[in-house]
């Protein structure tokens, strides 16, 4: 069975939002035609309004409850889980990532909780992992003077690049470390993250 990763979640979101967009555009098109026609005997009562209010309340709250219980990283993320098996310390400064002599490829176990600790010595940056097809696995902000720790469980084997996801001046777009992270141990391979250059 395919494990749920960011790719799966984004597909789910794409389908739901596209369906919603098509529905609301259709409703508005119908409405635009309908209001030019003479009125029928049926009128809209305040009761319809109160039902609508209830619907909005349920919708607003249930989205977060739904994602909390279905997206695999949310609970560890919000609770700041300490049950990680490996930690990776990365420093950022002067628009460069650094984690040891020559930035060796980070070896990460698949299917286990790991922690990325990223610290900035000067500006606000971002830290994101990306597949070979440039799709995103996850990201966080890297704020100077604060601990920026992200716990994560990889669901598939793969090779991922690090990219700064926050603007830090005109040099920031160059902050890419190709194929910097290698995840092994699950057997199931992320076919969008095969790596190439390292």
């Amino acid at each position: 069975m395919t494990k749920v990763d960011s790719h799966t979640v984004l597909w789910g979101q794409t389908i739901m939002y596209t369906a919603y967009c098509l529905a609301i555009i259709s409703v508005m098109a119908w409405f635009a035609v309908r209001i030019t026609k003479p009125r029928s005997s049926r009128e809209i009562t305040p009761r319809v309004f109160y039902v609508w209010v209830g619907f909005l309340v349920i919708l607003g709250v249930s989205l977060h409850l739904f994602t909390y219980n279905t997206i695999p990283w949310v609970k560890d993320d919000l609770h700041g889980s300490k049950n990680f098996v490996a930690a990776y310390d990365i420093s950022v400064g002067d628009h460069k990532f650094a984690w040891g002599e020559g930035n060796p490829q980070l070896q990460v176990p698949c299917g286990k909780l790991v922690k990325f600790s990223v610290t900035s010595t000067d500006l606000t940056y971002g830290f994101g992992l990306f597949r070979s097809d440039n799709s995103m696995v996850m990201q966080m902000q890297v704020v100077p003077g604060h601990a920026n720790d992200l716990v994560w469980t990889f669901e598939k084997d793969g090779v991922y690049s690090i990219r700064s996801t926050e603007y830090s001046g005109p040099l920031g777009y160059q902050m890419v470390e190709k194929d910097a992270v290698k995840v092994t141990g699950c057997g199931q391979v992320d076919t969008r993250a095969l790596g190439a250059t390292r």
Binding site: V9, Y17, I24, L63, Y68, H79, L123, G128, G169, P170
Partner: protein, 552 residues
């Protein structure tokens, strides 16, 4: 002279006579003219940025210039275009709806020119010096003098400060107009008027259980003006925060220029981010939503000639939106790991979800108001209003999705944020609502000028609607594939999406060109120039021959 040239010079059927305008009409139209000029700035700049996303042209849009443009683009769009259009409309509408003279015509004039000059100052500074900390100004980037010249930054901040001074004068004028007693009038109950405008009457009704039996006649201030007053509270708070942050940055610049470099670590970057987003979010999640809801109610009421459906709940929702806007900022910090989880869940997720409720109510109330008055003629103001409603119906849920802790982890800073949410909200939701207001106000402000071409108005509508939604959609698709905002891709990683987004952007430009031609041909070049000639009429006159009657 050919008919075309005749119309170009003198306007459609010579119906527009600028010498017949009152000072208030001329002033409002000047706000509109500059608002549209700056919209043109932002649109052309946006199109150039978009072309560079299709195929980077490094010789022209090298990174320093590209990011300077990216810094100026939203600021010119919001302050130069949206603020001027909204402030101009409200400077006219508040006295018009209250049937009371504006507190100070001179202050309204100062507001216009301070914003016009301030926007040009920071735009031109960015163009010349490439000062590019983006509108987010994440600490300590605006004070990073390894990347930016302090003098360049100081001029930029002065430009923003001029806009903020103009903004504060607008706030003063709105609240003084509400509460002052004009000469010859009976004493106005300033406290009660202010309390009613800000929602205290409704709050009292809710707390005492009288909400069920209350009606619009209980209120001293009409619903649209109440919306303007409440949105103006957020305008005020936002201006304070931006001014405070600007002064802080300016202190660092002055220190650097005078040879006394200050340590940027003296300011906590996360605390700064919290207060800055608290203030900045009062625009996106505060005044825009409150003003837009109020404008929908006003437009629906004017188009149908009826009262707003469930008006007391519309008032309540406006007050709720104001309170919500003070407490939602943390959704911008869902990816900041040092931000307390309590704030992420409470402010970032749950309170933000209330915007679905408040905007959903405004959407529903407006639609029902229109529906109950059917059959309606599909006028320009109605079709643009429906476009604006659709824009927010698309953009608000997109925003609620990214304000979710789980989804934000894979959406933050991608093109999703700025496409389906920001650009659809601003270009389709806000701008089409403003166009609807422009079509309503045009005959009132021009004493009956005749629109040059309905066909151009139709092209404007469809190109804008399709272009705006299309651009947001293709940016969103790229975002879901991992494309970040605020960066440059040199290897054509997302080119198919960016080509489609650029074509959509081109539709937006065509739409704007059609609108501009239509307005110029309606007013004529002599009419447009005539706006800048002083009116001989008294400033108390809102419309020719209409001086608000004293109220005992």
């Amino acid at each position: 002279m050919s008919t075309f040239m005749e119309t170009l010079v003198h306007g459609n059927e010579r119906a527009f006579k600028p010498e017949s305008l009152t000072p208030m009409q001329k002033l409002t139209l000047k706000y509109v003219v500059f608002g549209l000029i700056y919209y043109g700035f932002a649109a052309i700049e946006g199109m150039l940025l978009r072309l560079n996303q299709v195929q980077p042209i490094e010789s022209i849009f090298y990174p320093k210039r590209y990011f300077a443009m990216l810094t100026a683009h939203p600021l010119v769009g919001i302050f130069g275009s949206s603020y001027l259009l909204v402030f101009g409309a409200f400077t006219f509408l508040v006295p018009y709806l209250l049937k009371k003279p504006l507190w100070s015509f001179k202050v309204a004039n100062w507001t216009l020119w301070l914003i016009v000059v301030g926007v040009f100052t920071f735009w031109f500074d960015g163009f010349l010096t490439h000062y590019a900390p983006l509108y987010t100004l994440y600490w300590p980037l605006p004070a990073d003098f390894h990347q930016f010249e302090p003098v360049a930054g100081a001029i930029f901040i002065v430009g923003v400060a001029l806009v903020m001074v103009g903004t504060l004068l607008f706030v003063l004028n709105v609240f003084k107009t509400l509460t002052y007693t004009p000469a010859g009038w009976g004493q106005q109950p300033a406290g009660r008027i202010l309390g009613d405008a800000l929602g205290l009457t409704t709050l009292r009704n809710v707390l005492t259980g009288r909400m069920r039996h209350s009606s619009e006649t209980d209120h001293l201030v009409g619903l649209p003006v109440a919306a303007i007053a409440r949105g103006t509270v957020d305008v005020f708070l936002n201006a304070l925060i931006i001014t405070f942050s600007g002064v802080l940055i300016l202190v660092y610049m002055i220190g650097e220029i005078s040879g006394h470099s200050l340590k940027t670590t003296a300011v906590d970057a996360l605390l700064y981010k919290n207060w800055y987003w608290w203030g900045l979010d009062l625009v996106a999640d505060g005044l825009v939503l409150v003003f837009v809801a109020g404008t929908w109610y006003l437009l629906a009421s004017l188009i149908t000639g009826t009262d707003v459906f469930m008006a007391k709940w519309a008032r309540f929702a406006l007050g709720l939106e104001l309170v919500v806007s003070w407490t939602v900022w943390s959704h911008h910090l869902l990816s900041d790991q040092a931000q307390p989880a309590m704030l992420k869940v409470g402010s970032g997720e749950m309170v933000t979800a209330f915007e679905l409720i408040t905007q959903g109510l405004a959407f529903f109330i407006t639609l029902v108001t229109l529906y109950k008055a059917r059959p309606l003629a599909m006028t320009n103001e109605l079709k643009f209003l429906l476009g604006g409603l659709l824009g927010f119906a698309l953009a608000v849920p997109a925003g609620i999705m990214q304000a979710d802790a789980g989804l934000n982890r894979i959406l933050h800073n991608t093109q999703w944020i700025v496409g389906p949410h920001v650009h659809v909200a601003v270009l389709v939701g806000l701008t089409m609502t403003l166009y609807s207001a422009v079509y309503v106000l045009l005959p009132i402000l021009t004493n009956g000028a005749k629109l040059y071409s309905q066909r151009l108005a139709n092209i404007h509508f469809w190109c804008h609607l399709v272009g705006g939604i299309g651009m947001g959609a293709f940016m969103g698709m790229a975002g879901l594939q991992g494309m970040l905002r605020r960066t440059i891709y040199y290897n054509g990683e997302y080119r198919p999406y960016m080509i489609l987004a650029a074509l959509s952007g081109a539709l937006l430009l065509i739409a704007f060109a059609c609108f501009l031609v239509n307005i110029v041909m309606t007013l004529g070049l002599t009419g447009a120039v005539g706006l800048f000639h002083k009116s001989d009429r008294p400033v108390e006159e809102l419309l020719p021959g209409q001086v608000p009657e004293p109220v005992a």
